[in-house]
Symmetry: C2
DNA sequence: TGGAGTTGCTGAAAGGTTTCAAGACGATTG
DNA sequence: CAATCGTCTTGAAACCTTTCAGCAACTCCA
């Protein structure tokens, strides 16, 4: 523990206490204590209405006094169904995805299910490991914002019985539902806005290009240029290694290092974290935003508005995205006539100071 | 879907495809296909070194061709152990906790375990539900940043065999390890800094008071006043309903509404989200920060530095907190001589513009 | 060549729950 | 009073895996 002072004390005021062994009072012990059969205890647990109030009370008392905790593995093994949904997130540190997760939790709670969050952290290996794990756990279903939506693992899950809904990406392979925002349009909105303000040389900051969102937003940017009759070289691509604040700072360093004549006058970032990092670094290196560099982010996370220079950003309906995805998943796992769907929402440009009145 | 345009298409290019049934090729089917016994398949899975290369190859081929996926419920039921850790977070939308989670994941990965994240979202009922769920799942252990550390449920888990480590809170009941940062000291640092700058009337923004961190930081603030010989009324408490940006904005509204003469000249917020909201609202209502109102946050999340006015904050070793907690948990569940510990880290004041050169 | 040791595989038991056909019991009806 | 019905409860089977004692075949050495 090198980078922080720490102090360690024994807990429990010195009363040494060994770790307790797992003492499982099972359904059997409860049955014995209550003087009923196994089946009855199970009924109390699963169909309380069929057991007489008296017996039920006895059983409940026995459960309480023994500290009975149902063994979910056994339940699931026998009953064959899990009451858990998982959301495998691209980056739990990005408020965009935690807002999506909130929408997921909302829909799950309404259906009486619980949500486990998993964080792939933009790492394909971790994503794969989590997918395997979740499949082995036989969760009700998986929501995922994938790193690579062509992964074979991703395609295999549904055919083996684990429904998968892709979030924040569209996918049309007939195996999944997907819920997304039109990222091409989003990119187009951002660049059209900058072009309208008179910017000619515009940087696109984003990466890696394995991430679909990064590519789509860039393609939208290109399309906006094309539509405006500008040459594609006007879009200068700065590729980053991830979609994080730190990478944004790195990009800012590179950008600020360019001679003013060759430096773009505006930057469009693939997400707000990059934009915030870029903004921070550029400001600290003496560039004025928006006068020297206009910046557009993407996602419109809560912090975009509170930034040093309030950030123009492309807004996505975050919670709605999550809620809709969860609802599709629930439909898929409960409705035998379920048909896969692709839902696409429309993004919206929110203009703030970081691009206001430039040039 | 009221607040966003959306478009829905069938997926799969119109090829209607029904949801697949769960077709479980089990260990039995694999054994039959490979011409070996159940036990051998299990050995391939769990102790590959004891089976001859030839048989192993046959079994692996059979597994691949049948798409075998091990049923984790059955495995766990029989083997009695889970390979999963859970971190029950207070607020997944707070970057502080996702950084802690990163530390947890790091330590877990090093030990070959996986982490499920759960979000209580500052809601005691959800916290209780998740604790029940995790206990039923028989996870290896639970890390938790509790809403109420005196909850009976929390105390019961360890005695029934699920180790629990409390994160970001100290607790001394002999049942848990805990890892925390000295929040009293943190509060003291913040207020001492403001006093040194000459502030007399200082607001404390935080709540609800059921959350331990909120109380400790306030107590630290009071202590600093006491030590400086100031009357306790100089600390004006603004109680919030949660530790969020939105609540911070609300507090800003209240604060800015006060007549200048009665308004505090500085505010210490129980966390950075509150501080960012407060900052944003005050600025938009025309207060200058730090001239009219100095602000100190808590946690030093990544966005504190990038805020409209870079935020003075009390820094905590976030990842280290998570990593240490996970390591204690792992020790508890693997080391029979484990003794509960309370680890306390020391916070550090990071001074930025939001308090610089005030008064 | 006989015995011991080794290697690799087998088969049955066990783990805690749910499910379901069937039984027990009392009440109601003809 | 017998027959029928309803309400509760029971006991055994089933879910899928791991574990472990035991067995077969082979090697090695005396």
């Amino acid at each position: 523990m090198p980078d922080s002072a720490s102090e360690t004390l024994p807990s429990g005021g010195g009363k040494r206490r060994k770790a307790a062994k797992r003492h499982t009072a099972g359904v059997k012990a409860v049955a014995a204590a209550a003087g009923v059969s196994l089946g009855t205890v199970s009924n109390v647990l699963n169909r309380p209405e069929v057991v007489s109030p008296l017996t039920r009370a006895k059983v409940e008392a026995a459960m309480a006094s023994l500290g009975f905790v149902r063994n979910e593995s056994a339940r699931q093994l026998r009953a064959g169904s899990s009451r858990i949904l998982a959301y495998l997130m691209l980056d739990a540190g990005n408020p965009f995805f935690t807002d999506v997760a909130k929408g997921v939790e909302e829909a799950a709670q309404a259906a009486g299910l619980s949500v486990f969050l998993c964080n792939s952290n933009e790492d394909a290996d971790r994503e794969a490991d989590y997918l395997d794990l979740l499949e082995q756990q036989r969760v009700q279903g998986v929501l995922i914002t994938p790193i690579d939506q062509n992964s074979s693992r991703l395609r295999k899950l549904p055919s083996r019985g684990t429904p998968v809904v892709v979030v924040d990406r569209n996918i049309d392979d007939g195996e999944h539902c997907s819920v997304a925002v039109n990222d091409i349009l989003g990119g187009e909105l951002a660049i059209a806005h900058l072009l309208e303000l008179g910017h000619e040389r515009i940087a696109y900051v984003g990466g890696p290009n394995t991430i679909g969102q990064v590519v789509d937003r860039r393609d939208g940017a290109r399309r906006a240029l094309r539509k405006a009759g500008k040459p594609p070289e006007n879009l200068i691509e700065l590729t980053t290694g991830a979609l994080t604040v730190a990478e944004g700072r790195g990009a800012g360093q590179r950008l600020a290092g360019l001679p003013a004549a060759r430096r773009p006058t505006a930057a469009f970032c693939a997400n707000d974290l990059l934009a915030l990092g870029l903004l921070q670094q550029c400001v600290s290196l003496g560039l004025r935003v928006p006068e020297d560099l206009a910046i557009v982010g993407y996602d419109d996370i809560e912090f975009a508005e509170a930034a040093a220079v309030p950030l123009t950003s492309v807004r996505q309906p975050r919670q709605l995205l999550g809620r809709t995805a969860a609802e599709l998943l629930l439909d898929e796992s409960s409705n035998p006539d379920h048909e896969h769907q692709r839902v696409t929402f429309t993004p919206e440009l929110v203009v703030r100071t970081s691009t206001r009145g430039t040039l």
